[in-house]
Symmetry: C2
DNA sequence: GATGTTGTAATCTTCTTGATTACAACATCA
DNA sequence: TGATGTTGTAATCAAGAAGATTACAACATC
Protein backbone atom coordinates (compact mmCIF):
# COMPACT_ATOMS: atom_id res chain seq x y z
CA UNK A 1 0.00 0.00 0.00
CA UNK A 2 1.29 3.37 -0.91
CA UNK A 3 0.87 7.00 0.01
CA UNK A 4 -1.33 8.55 -2.67
CA UNK A 5 0.19 10.36 -5.60
CA UNK A 6 -1.46 13.59 -4.44
CA UNK A 7 1.65 14.19 -2.39
CA UNK A 8 4.13 14.03 -5.27
CA UNK A 9 1.68 15.94 -7.45
CA UNK A 10 1.58 18.68 -4.82
CA UNK A 11 5.36 18.98 -4.77
CA UNK A 12 5.29 19.04 -8.57
CA UNK A 13 2.83 21.92 -8.37
CA UNK A 14 5.18 23.90 -6.15
CA UNK A 15 8.05 23.21 -8.54
CA UNK A 16 5.98 24.57 -11.43
CA UNK A 17 4.91 27.70 -9.61
CA UNK A 18 8.52 28.29 -8.58
CA UNK A 19 9.84 27.73 -12.09
CA UNK A 20 7.16 29.40 -14.21
CA UNK A 21 5.44 31.78 -11.81
CA UNK A 22 7.59 34.69 -12.95
CA UNK A 23 6.83 34.43 -16.62
CA UNK A 24 3.28 33.17 -16.87
CA UNK A 25 0.05 32.56 -15.02
CA UNK A 26 0.16 29.09 -13.47
CA UNK A 27 -3.38 27.76 -13.86
CA UNK A 28 -4.84 24.37 -13.07
CA UNK A 29 -4.94 23.77 -16.80
CA UNK A 30 -1.25 24.42 -17.15
CA UNK A 31 -0.43 22.26 -14.12
CA UNK A 32 -2.60 19.50 -15.53
CA UNK A 33 -0.44 19.53 -18.67
CA UNK A 34 2.82 19.35 -16.76
CA UNK A 35 1.74 16.66 -14.30
CA UNK A 36 -0.51 14.76 -16.70
CA UNK A 37 -3.19 14.79 -14.01
CA UNK A 38 -6.77 15.88 -14.53
CA UNK A 39 -7.31 19.63 -13.96
CA UNK A 40 -10.17 18.98 -11.53
CA UNK A 41 -7.85 16.88 -9.40
CA UNK A 42 -5.27 19.65 -9.58
CA UNK A 43 -7.85 22.16 -8.38
CA UNK A 44 -8.76 19.86 -5.51
CA UNK A 45 -5.12 19.56 -4.44
CA UNK A 46 -4.66 23.31 -4.82
CA UNK A 47 -7.68 23.83 -2.57
CA UNK A 48 -6.11 21.65 0.10
CA UNK A 49 -2.82 23.50 -0.19
CA UNK A 50 -4.69 26.79 0.07
CA UNK A 51 -6.60 25.61 3.14
CA UNK A 52 -3.23 24.86 4.74
CA UNK A 53 -2.03 28.37 3.91
CA UNK A 54 0.68 27.16 1.56
CA UNK A 55 -0.56 28.75 -1.66
CA UNK A 56 -2.72 31.63 -2.76
CA UNK A 57 -5.19 31.24 -5.58
CA UNK A 58 -6.66 34.04 -7.66
CA UNK A 59 -10.30 33.16 -7.90
CA UNK A 60 -11.61 34.73 -11.07
CA UNK A 61 -8.49 35.73 -12.94
CA UNK A 62 -6.72 32.49 -12.20
CA UNK A 63 -3.24 31.41 -11.24
CA UNK A 64 -1.58 30.07 -8.11
CA UNK A 65 1.30 31.50 -6.12
CA UNK A 66 3.33 30.24 -3.19
CA UNK A 67 2.15 31.86 0.04
CA UNK A 68 5.34 31.58 2.11
CA UNK A 69 9.07 31.63 1.85
CA UNK A 70 10.48 28.41 0.41
CA UNK A 71 12.42 27.80 3.59
CA UNK A 72 9.22 28.04 5.61
CA UNK A 73 7.47 25.16 3.86
CA UNK A 74 8.62 21.61 4.41
CA UNK A 75 7.46 18.30 2.98
CA UNK A 76 5.53 17.43 6.13
CA UNK A 77 3.44 20.58 5.70
CA UNK A 78 2.57 19.44 2.20
CA UNK A 79 2.00 15.85 3.26
CA UNK A 80 -0.40 16.90 6.01
CA UNK A 81 -2.19 19.26 3.66
CA UNK A 82 -3.00 16.71 0.97
CA UNK A 83 -3.08 13.36 2.77
CA UNK A 84 -6.32 13.56 4.64
CA UNK A 85 -4.99 11.44 7.51
CA UNK A 86 -8.28 11.74 9.32
CA UNK A 87 -7.13 10.81 12.78
CA UNK A 88 -6.26 7.37 11.47
CA UNK A 89 -2.51 7.61 11.34
CA UNK A 90 -0.18 5.85 8.94
CA UNK A 91 -0.98 2.33 10.08
CA UNK A 92 -4.34 0.70 9.62
CA UNK A 93 -5.53 -1.50 12.48
CA UNK A 94 -7.80 -4.46 11.94
CA UNK A 95 -11.04 -3.40 13.53
CA UNK A 96 -12.88 -5.37 16.19
CA UNK A 97 -10.32 -7.84 17.50
CA UNK A 98 -11.99 -10.24 19.90
CA UNK A 99 -12.78 -8.83 23.32
CA UNK A 100 -12.92 -12.41 24.61
CA UNK A 101 -9.30 -13.10 23.73
CA UNK A 102 -6.74 -11.54 26.08
CA UNK A 103 -4.49 -10.83 23.12
CA UNK A 104 -7.24 -9.32 21.03
CA UNK A 105 -8.32 -7.21 23.95
CA UNK A 106 -4.85 -5.68 24.34
CA UNK A 107 -3.26 -5.63 20.91
CA UNK A 108 -4.13 -1.98 20.36
CA UNK A 109 -2.60 -0.95 23.67
CA UNK A 110 0.56 -2.91 22.87
CA UNK A 111 1.11 -1.53 19.38
CA UNK A 112 -0.14 2.05 19.55
CA UNK A 113 2.91 3.68 21.07
CA UNK A 114 5.32 1.72 18.90
CA UNK A 115 3.56 2.61 15.67
CA UNK A 116 3.39 6.23 16.73
CA UNK A 117 7.17 6.14 17.11
CA UNK A 118 7.51 4.84 13.57
CA UNK A 119 5.17 7.43 12.16
CA UNK A 120 6.96 10.18 14.04
CA UNK A 121 10.28 9.07 12.61
CA UNK A 122 8.84 9.38 9.13
CA UNK A 123 7.30 12.76 9.85
CA UNK A 124 10.52 14.09 11.34
CA UNK A 125 12.40 13.20 8.19
CA UNK A 126 9.67 14.76 6.04
CA UNK A 127 9.81 17.95 8.05
CA UNK A 128 13.58 18.16 7.69
CA UNK A 129 13.27 18.70 3.94
CA UNK A 130 12.15 22.17 2.88
CA UNK A 131 10.97 23.45 -0.46
CA UNK A 132 14.21 25.41 -0.53
CA UNK A 133 16.08 22.11 -0.67
CA UNK A 134 13.75 20.81 -3.34
CA UNK A 135 13.96 23.91 -5.53
CA UNK A 136 17.72 23.92 -5.36
CA UNK A 137 17.65 20.61 -7.21
CA UNK A 138 14.85 21.74 -9.48
CA UNK A 139 16.81 24.82 -10.52
CA UNK A 140 19.95 22.81 -11.13
CA UNK A 141 18.22 20.25 -13.34
CA UNK A 142 15.80 22.56 -15.13
CA UNK A 143 18.45 25.04 -16.11
CA UNK A 144 20.83 22.48 -17.59
CA UNK B 1 -3.98 6.30 2.63
CA UNK B 2 -2.81 3.77 5.11
CA UNK B 3 -0.58 0.78 5.40
CA UNK B 4 -2.85 -2.28 5.17
CA UNK B 5 -4.10 -4.00 8.28
CA UNK B 6 -2.21 -7.14 7.27
CA UNK B 7 0.73 -5.71 9.18
CA UNK B 8 -1.04 -5.31 12.51
CA UNK B 9 -2.80 -8.63 11.97
CA UNK B 10 0.59 -10.27 11.48
CA UNK B 11 1.88 -8.86 14.77
CA UNK B 12 -1.34 -10.00 16.41
CA UNK B 13 -0.66 -13.50 15.07
CA UNK B 14 2.78 -13.53 16.65
CA UNK B 15 1.31 -12.36 19.94
CA UNK B 16 -1.19 -15.24 19.85
CA UNK B 17 1.40 -17.88 19.04
CA UNK B 18 3.59 -16.48 21.81
CA UNK B 19 0.77 -16.43 24.33
CA UNK B 20 -1.13 -19.63 23.48
CA UNK B 21 1.44 -21.74 21.65
CA UNK B 22 2.35 -23.60 24.82
CA UNK B 23 -1.12 -24.72 25.72
CA UNK B 24 -2.92 -25.28 22.45
CA UNK B 25 -2.56 -25.65 18.73
CA UNK B 26 -2.70 -22.21 17.11
CA UNK B 27 -4.65 -22.72 13.91
CA UNK B 28 -5.87 -20.26 11.32
CA UNK B 29 -9.34 -20.84 12.71
CA UNK B 30 -8.27 -19.87 16.21
CA UNK B 31 -6.37 -16.82 14.92
CA UNK B 32 -9.41 -15.81 12.92
CA UNK B 33 -11.44 -15.77 16.13
CA UNK B 34 -8.92 -13.65 18.02
CA UNK B 35 -8.30 -11.15 15.23
CA UNK B 36 -11.82 -11.18 13.83
CA UNK B 37 -10.31 -11.61 10.39
CA UNK B 38 -11.35 -14.26 7.90
CA UNK B 39 -9.40 -17.54 8.25
CA UNK B 40 -8.45 -17.55 4.58
CA UNK B 41 -6.85 -14.14 4.99
CA UNK B 42 -5.06 -15.44 8.08
CA UNK B 43 -3.73 -18.36 6.07
CA UNK B 44 -2.55 -16.01 3.37
CA UNK B 45 -0.69 -13.86 5.88
CA UNK B 46 0.75 -16.95 7.53
CA UNK B 47 1.99 -18.08 4.13
CA UNK B 48 3.78 -14.79 3.65
CA UNK B 49 5.33 -15.02 7.10
CA UNK B 50 6.41 -18.56 6.35
CA UNK B 51 7.94 -17.53 3.03
CA UNK B 52 9.97 -14.96 4.96
CA UNK B 53 11.14 -17.65 7.35
CA UNK B 54 9.42 -16.10 10.35
CA UNK B 55 6.99 -18.91 11.20
CA UNK B 56 6.67 -22.64 10.68
CA UNK B 57 3.35 -24.18 9.74
CA UNK B 58 2.34 -27.80 10.21
CA UNK B 59 0.66 -28.71 6.97
CA UNK B 60 -1.78 -31.51 7.73
CA UNK B 61 -1.99 -31.50 11.48
CA UNK B 62 -2.22 -27.77 11.72
CA UNK B 63 -0.81 -25.06 13.94
CA UNK B 64 1.78 -22.31 13.56
CA UNK B 65 4.95 -21.70 15.54
CA UNK B 66 7.50 -18.91 15.59
CA UNK B 67 10.59 -19.89 13.63
CA UNK B 68 13.17 -17.68 15.33
CA UNK B 69 14.09 -16.18 18.65
CA UNK B 70 11.89 -13.21 19.52
CA UNK B 71 14.91 -10.93 19.61
CA UNK B 72 15.79 -11.98 16.05
CA UNK B 73 12.53 -10.78 14.52
CA UNK B 74 11.79 -7.08 14.22
CA UNK B 75 8.81 -5.16 12.91
CA UNK B 76 10.54 -4.36 9.63
CA UNK B 77 10.92 -8.09 8.96
CA UNK B 78 7.18 -8.49 9.44
CA UNK B 79 6.37 -5.37 7.44
CA UNK B 80 8.45 -6.54 4.50
CA UNK B 81 6.95 -10.01 4.70
CA UNK B 82 3.32 -8.95 4.46
CA UNK B 83 3.39 -5.62 2.63
CA UNK B 84 4.18 -6.72 -0.86
CA UNK B 85 6.11 -3.52 -1.61
CA UNK B 86 6.79 -4.68 -5.14
CA UNK B 87 9.62 -2.31 -5.96
CA UNK B 88 7.19 0.57 -5.63
CA UNK B 89 8.31 2.01 -2.34
CA UNK B 90 6.22 3.85 0.19
CA UNK B 91 5.40 6.85 -1.99
CA UNK B 92 3.30 6.66 -5.09
CA UNK B 93 4.42 8.82 -7.99
CA UNK B 94 2.00 10.21 -10.52
CA UNK B 95 2.86 8.37 -13.70
CA UNK B 96 3.73 10.02 -16.98
CA UNK B 97 4.50 13.62 -16.10
CA UNK B 98 4.99 15.66 -19.26
CA UNK B 99 8.29 15.10 -21.03
CA UNK B 100 7.77 18.46 -22.73
CA UNK B 101 7.81 20.34 -19.44
CA UNK B 102 11.24 20.81 -17.87
CA UNK B 103 9.70 20.33 -14.45
CA UNK B 104 7.76 17.22 -15.44
CA UNK B 105 10.87 15.81 -17.07
CA UNK B 106 12.88 16.12 -13.85
CA UNK B 107 10.46 15.77 -10.96
CA UNK B 108 11.32 12.12 -10.42
CA UNK B 109 15.03 12.86 -10.30
CA UNK B 110 14.45 15.66 -7.81
CA UNK B 111 12.25 13.72 -5.41
CA UNK B 112 13.57 10.17 -5.53
CA UNK B 113 16.48 10.53 -3.15
CA UNK B 114 14.51 12.63 -0.69
CA UNK B 115 11.62 10.18 -0.52
CA UNK B 116 14.06 7.32 -0.10
CA UNK B 117 15.46 9.12 2.91
CA UNK B 118 11.99 9.38 4.42
CA UNK B 119 11.21 5.75 3.79
CA UNK B 120 14.54 4.72 5.26
CA UNK B 121 13.83 6.69 8.40
CA UNK B 122 10.59 4.81 8.82
CA UNK B 123 12.22 1.46 8.15
CA UNK B 124 15.01 2.15 10.60
CA UNK B 125 12.49 2.83 13.32
CA UNK B 126 10.53 -0.30 12.42
CA UNK B 127 13.67 -2.40 12.56
CA UNK B 128 14.57 -1.04 15.98
CA UNK B 129 11.52 -2.69 17.54
CA UNK B 130 11.79 -6.45 18.05
CA UNK B 131 9.15 -9.01 18.91
CA UNK B 132 10.88 -9.30 22.25
CA UNK B 133 9.92 -5.69 22.95
CA UNK B 134 6.39 -6.34 21.79
CA UNK B 135 5.93 -9.54 23.83
CA UNK B 136 7.20 -7.84 26.94
CA UNK B 137 4.17 -5.56 26.78
CA UNK B 138 1.88 -8.39 25.72
CA UNK B 139 2.91 -10.46 28.73
CA UNK B 140 2.46 -7.55 31.08
CA UNK B 141 -1.04 -6.74 29.85
CA UNK B 142 -2.30 -10.27 29.25
CA UNK B 143 -1.27 -11.49 32.67
CA UNK B 144 -2.96 -8.69 34.57
C1' DG C 1 -21.49 41.23 -20.93
C1' DA C 2 -17.68 38.14 -22.99
C1' DT C 3 -13.90 35.46 -21.53
C1' DG C 4 -11.09 32.65 -18.80
C1' DT C 5 -10.64 30.62 -14.50
C1' DT C 6 -11.81 28.46 -10.01
C1' DG C 7 -15.03 25.67 -6.89
C1' DT C 8 -17.67 21.78 -6.56
C1' DA C 9 -21.01 18.20 -7.27
C1' DA C 10 -22.04 13.94 -9.63
C1' DT C 11 -20.87 9.95 -12.06
C1' DC C 12 -17.75 6.40 -13.82
C1' DT C 13 -13.80 3.32 -14.02
C1' DT C 14 -10.17 1.01 -12.02
C1' DC C 15 -7.64 -0.94 -8.31
C1' DT C 16 -6.99 -2.84 -3.79
C1' DT C 17 -8.49 -5.11 0.26
C1' DG C 18 -10.69 -8.24 2.65
C1' DA C 19 -14.79 -11.74 2.95
C1' DT C 20 -16.50 -15.85 1.39
C1' DT C 21 -17.16 -20.34 -0.85
C1' DA C 22 -15.27 -24.36 -2.51
C1' DC C 23 -12.24 -27.95 -2.81
C1' DA C 24 -7.84 -30.42 -3.34
C1' DA C 25 -3.65 -31.82 -0.61
C1' DC C 26 -1.96 -33.40 3.50
C1' DA C 27 -1.06 -35.47 8.30
C1' DT C 28 -2.77 -37.93 12.12
C1' DC C 29 -5.19 -41.30 14.47
C1' DA C 30 -8.67 -44.71 15.29
C1' DT D 1 -7.72 -47.67 5.31
C1' DG D 2 -10.77 -44.19 6.04
C1' DA D 3 -12.54 -40.34 8.98
C1' DT D 4 -11.19 -35.97 10.69
C1' DG D 5 -9.14 -31.61 11.01
C1' DT D 6 -6.16 -28.56 8.90
C1' DT D 7 -3.59 -25.97 5.26
C1' DG D 8 -3.06 -24.13 0.36
C1' DT D 9 -5.22 -21.89 -3.19
C1' DA D 10 -8.33 -20.48 -6.76
C1' DA D 11 -12.48 -18.00 -7.87
C1' DT D 12 -15.89 -14.75 -6.95
C1' DC D 13 -18.01 -10.88 -4.44
C1' DA D 14 -18.55 -6.48 -1.97
C1' DA D 15 -16.82 -2.24 -0.30
C1' DG D 16 -13.92 1.57 -0.39
C1' DA D 17 -10.49 4.80 -2.44
C1' DA D 18 -8.41 7.28 -6.11
C1' DG D 19 -8.44 9.48 -10.08
C1' DA D 20 -10.86 10.83 -14.68
C1' DT D 21 -14.46 13.16 -16.61
C1' DT D 22 -18.53 16.08 -17.42
C1' DA D 23 -21.14 19.83 -16.12
C1' DC D 24 -22.08 24.09 -14.36
C1' DA D 25 -22.33 27.89 -11.01
C1' DA D 26 -19.39 31.68 -9.04
C1' DC D 27 -16.08 34.98 -9.80
C1' DA D 28 -12.67 38.60 -11.66
C1' DT D 29 -11.04 41.20 -15.43
C1' DC D 30 -11.28 43.39 -19.61
Amino acid sequence: MQISSRFTVAVHIFACIHTFGGERKVTSEFLAMSTNVNPVIIRKILSQLKAAGLVDIARGSGGATIAKQLCDINLLDIYNAVECVGGGGLFHFHENPSEQCPVGRNIHRVLDDKLVRVQTAMENELSSITLEDVMRDVDRLVKS
